[in-house]
Amino acid sequence: MADKVKLLEVNRLKKYFHAGKKKVLKAVDDVSFYVYKGETLGLVGESGCGKSTVGRTIINLYKATSGNVIYDGMNVQQKLSVRDLKKYKKKMQMIFQDPYSSLNPRMTVAEIIAEGIDNHAPGISRERKMEKVYQLLELVGLHSSHANRYPHEFSGGQRQRIGIARALAVEPEFIIADEPIAALDVSIQAQIVNLLRELQRGKQLTYLFIAHDLSMVKHISDRVAVMYLGQLVELSGSEKLYANPLHPYTKALLSAVPLPDPDLERTRERIILKGDVPNPLHPPCGCRFRTRCPEAKAICAEAAPEWRETERDHFVACHIYSACW
């Protein structure tokens, strides 16, 4: 990343869902970040923090409540012409979490992978299309003889490879990976992560990698953003974030990850957070983390902390690091 070009910019993105009468679920509440071309941005958080909603709003599966998503200079949350929308959908693809529900059980592998090709290049000949399908299958580590099989004949890891091949079929630039390894076994997770990294190198892809597994996120990401209850709390280079976390939530999250090393586990001190994540329908006023924060002050209940860059490329939203505190 010699020339850091911002490929995707998310500005003050909000996505509210209506959950019954007068109840509003603020799944994503004022989130801003950007992704450089060719990098991997990890987005971590616990279940229900809104990280998947961010991904789905960026790729236009959901319409944002407010805020902008600017991709390569184009504001994609505005009303786009059909042609622009199609172009955008070709550039951005998604890999899903559940290898079982993400493939249509009534379609063959070839049909699944070719769907994107059909949509974006409808006139293509059958031979060219199948040739491309075979190439993609080999690329993701499967065999071309798998093309006529049905998804249920494959294991979880292989299905995830099919999902990756499907996303790659339209030759995207940007891939949102929504917990792509959460449902897989440990030994298979590493296969998929290595595959994703190889593909990134080979095809100059940019990733938004959504996950809850911090050690995997650290491994694959150049920068990591941490989310809590619909808001970002910290964003920084992955080495820096793990070596020197600023936000109390990041600290607690990092210390809660059990490490596969008995000696370390015996000696290290854990920050164990009290209590549960509050109900997202009624988030606490002020800083949303204050109810569980070991370092909460009086001001934390009064005002929400500002999202600011404390040093170059290290953002944090916490009163401890506010200038006026």
Binding site: E46, V186, Y242, L253, L254, A256, P260
Partner: protein, 348 residues
């Protein structure tokens, strides 16, 4: 150490459309009083089936314990009648399941559910049962137990529900707790809370825990002894340090090296285990791991390896341990996470 449960040569099979599925094939292990034995393995390794067999919770219509003994307090649980087993379940051996959402009855208050076990196994008045339940809920860290005792499961969060499940399991002070992936459905910060709670309670009551998990981090945090399962067999078993710092089986090596390390250099690719786990209804001949093993010998594809004792506590099933086998160095980086410690063990 007092041995309270011992499993010998357990074989369990399922029957389905596609024929027989040999889920557990010759598993043996012991559990001592007050210790935690972790059974690690990937999905389909037979770890959950083993746990359910101990509790006799397998579906009757399509599963069968083909062979083997489960000895507990002078009794063989395999031969026990259902009624005798019911007396044991909950009072001496209890189980915590993976999903706290489905392991509680949604139409009963949590107080009633905790009390149910107490009433069944201990004769006590309604009043003492109630006070005991409040005590239990307080013990597992539920705030305002006096109030929450009358609430329903849906009014609790996932972590709190798992605490209730643990309270139910511990209601009668069982000697043994089988925890089947107790934290897999929970978030990391909640997982840390629950693991801490389990350790604390174990110390207090001297409960033996069989922890079924796929997460080596959880194992390192909780266990004293570890058994690594693959395709229905125990590949390697030993103390925590033996498994993590001196593993002998290529599968254990593979598991350890496919995990990313929080403190490792991220420019290096991970070392995954190639291929996919075998189909349990069509197992390969010889060692079940051989098709995925980069150290496999010719013999591995034809004969199952026997058990080799590396030390009094450390057993491994691998042909590489045979004296005729070529010497193989375990891959770099395993057990080397703390080099000082590693050399200390090697030198001793």
């Amino acid at each position: 150490m007092e041995k309270i449960l011992s499993v010998e040569n357990l074989h369990v099979s399922f029957y389905s459309d596609g024929g027989e599925i040999a889920a557990v094939r010759g598993v043996s292990f012991d559990v001592n009083k007050g210790e935690t034995l972790a059974i690690v393995g990937e999905s389909g390794s037979g770890k959950s089936v083993t746990a359910k067999t101990l509790m006799k919770l397998l579906p009757k219509q399509n599963s069968i314990i083909k062979q083997g003994d489960v000895k507990y307090g002078g009794k063989n649980l395999v031969q026990l009648t259902n009624r005798d087993m019911e007396k044991l379940r909950g009072s001496e051996i209890s189980m915590v399941f993976q999903d706290p959402m489905t392991s509680l009855n949604p139409t009963m208050t949590i107080g009633k559910q905790v009390m149910e076990g107490l009433k069944r196994h201990r004769t006590m008045s309604k009043k003492t049962a109630y006070t005991r339940t409040v005590e239990l809920l307080e013990l597992v860290g539920i705030p305002d137990p006096g109030e929450r005792i009358n609430q329903y499961p849906h009014q609790f969060s996932g972590g709190m529900r798992q605490r209730v499940v643990i309270a139910m399991a511990l209601a009668c002070n069982p000697k043994m707790l089988i925890a089947d992936e107790p934290t897999t459905a929970l978030d990391v910060t909640i997982q840390a809370q629950i693991l801490e709670l389990m350790k604390e309670l174990q110390k207090k009551f001297q409960t033996a825990i069989i922890l079924i998990t796929h997460d080596l981090g959880v194992v390192a945090n909780m266990a004293q002894r570890v058994a690594v399962m693959y395709a229905g067999e125990i590949m390697e078993s030993g103390t925590l340090d033996e498994i993590f710092y001196q593993p002998k089986h290529p599968y254990t090596w593979g598991l350890l090296s496919s995990m990313p390390k929080l403190h490792a250099d991220r420019s290096l690719p991970l070392t995954p285990i190639p291929g996919t786990p075998p189909d349990l209804s069509h197992l390969p001949e010889g060692c079940p791991f051989a098709p995925r093993c980069q150290y496999a010998l010719k013999v591995c594809h034809q004969y199952e390896p026997g058990k080799t004792k590396v030390s009094t506590t450390h057993t491994v099933s691998c042909w590489l341990e045979d004296e005729r086998a070529p010497k193989v160095k375990k891959p770099e980086g395993i057990g080397g996470m703390q080099r000082g410690r590693q050399s200390k063990i090697a030198g001793s």
